[in-house]
Symmetry: C2
Subunit: 236 residues, 2 copies
């Protein structure tokens, strides 16, 4: 069991759950495109950013807060594809209409650029197309990794993957990573029930894989942390 946890480190740990963002390797032209926009009015918790099927005439960059990107099946089950965080973009993987719904987890502020503006910028500089393609492909790869996490790993390991990912792309506060989302939301993201999420938290705490002073603050301990991800370097 512990063995399995360690085995999976290198296999599935490289940020799986990132949903709708481009992050560190974001091309400069893109960052500057959003930089001088005024933030839109804040969206309250559970507020809707946009709905699946609506025309996607804007692109967004998150200034603060967390967004859940999801769809609801006909049976009413929700799949959260990922949580978008400050700096992340929304809209590159949508052509005419949104193919998922975006809702605020907590209070969210955004900057936006119209799609026509983006297309204008691109058409002046054709080499930028490759950057766009890369953003979409990165997202595709992330989905494929998420698919593997969900179909290969069992609950404890799934949660650990999620926590690693959160830790890797969120600035810790006092050494702890904050979780703005509920157990239900984590479950809808990782394909497990909220009870199983909770039990897995308890299990990881018992195994000393994580330290959790409160239900929404955690830190990965030692061998289970981000360091484990970079173990490739040692091997190489």
């Amino acid at each position: 069991m512990t063995l399995a946890l360690i085995d999976t480190d290198s296999a599935l740990s490289r940020s799986n759950t990132r949903a709708c963002h481009a992050e560190a390797s974001t091309p400069e032209w893109l960052r500057s495109l959003f930089r001088d926009r005024d933030p839109l009015r804040p969206i309250p918790p559970d507020g809707i950013v946009f709905l699946d099927g609506d025309p996607a005439d804007q692109l967004f960059q998150i200034v603060s807060g967390t967004i859940r990107c999801c769809t609801i099946s006909e049976e009413g089950r929700r799949q959260i594809f990922g949580f978008a965080r400050p700096g992340d973009f929304l809209g590159f993987s949508d052509l005419d209409t949104w193919h998922f719904t975006a809702e605020a987890v907590d209070t969210v502020t955004l900057r936006s650029v119209s799609r026509s503006t983006l297309e204008a910028v691109i058409s002046n500089e054709p080499c930028l197309h490759k950057d766009i393609r890369r953003i979409i492909v990165d997202e595709l790869v992330r989905r494929e990794q998420q698919l593997m996490v969900i179909s290969f790993l069992q609950s404890d390991e799934r949660l650990l993957c999620f926590l690693r990912d959160q830790a890797a792309r969120t600035r810790p506060v006092d050494g702890f990573t904050l979780l703005p989302m509920t157990r239900q939301e984590i479950g809808d993201h990782m394909g497990m029930s909220l009870e199983t999420v909770s039990r897995s938290f308890t299990s990881l705490k018992r195994k000393r894989a994580i330290v959790m002073p409160a239900a929404n603050r955690f830190r990965l301990s030692g061998a289970f942390g981000v360091e484990a991800i970079t173990s490739d370097h040692i091997a190489a």
Copy 2:
């Protein structure tokens, strides 16, 4: 149980499992780009088309046969993202290197175009970029639907989704859809063990959801077939 099967029809049935192809709505310029290429020498069953990580300097279109697009995790588990069929393309969702492995399920023949040729064609006609983007986004959407199938549905329903998809994009022979892949491969695609795949086949046969005169030939019966997909029209 039967109820559940019917419930999921409209929700998850729109071709989930298609992996690496552009199909019916393929732009004409793309089809013509490949049309006048000579087919490469055939690849035998289980032969490797290309390997995850290798430089992706070619794009392929399948002339005949079936390809499995997959990756192997460190623990040795295989995830098949999809089966590519005649007419499907490989390579649009890869930038510099392949991000998955492609292997022949049966004997496969391909046509290929070098990436530099494609880029040259595109740079002369910038509006084609949108077509490329659409191909990649379509693939992303397919992965997201596959994620939902795997995380929401149980084994019988998962298999039914797979069979619907196969039936929808394969030309039937004598009214039956052929399955060139093994139970193991279906399982690696749909996130279930080969035994569970087999049991689900048996279960669907017992429920009269499918007719199967042999292990690799099936037909969806009545309410479970493709017609069910178009039930939207009736509702609308």
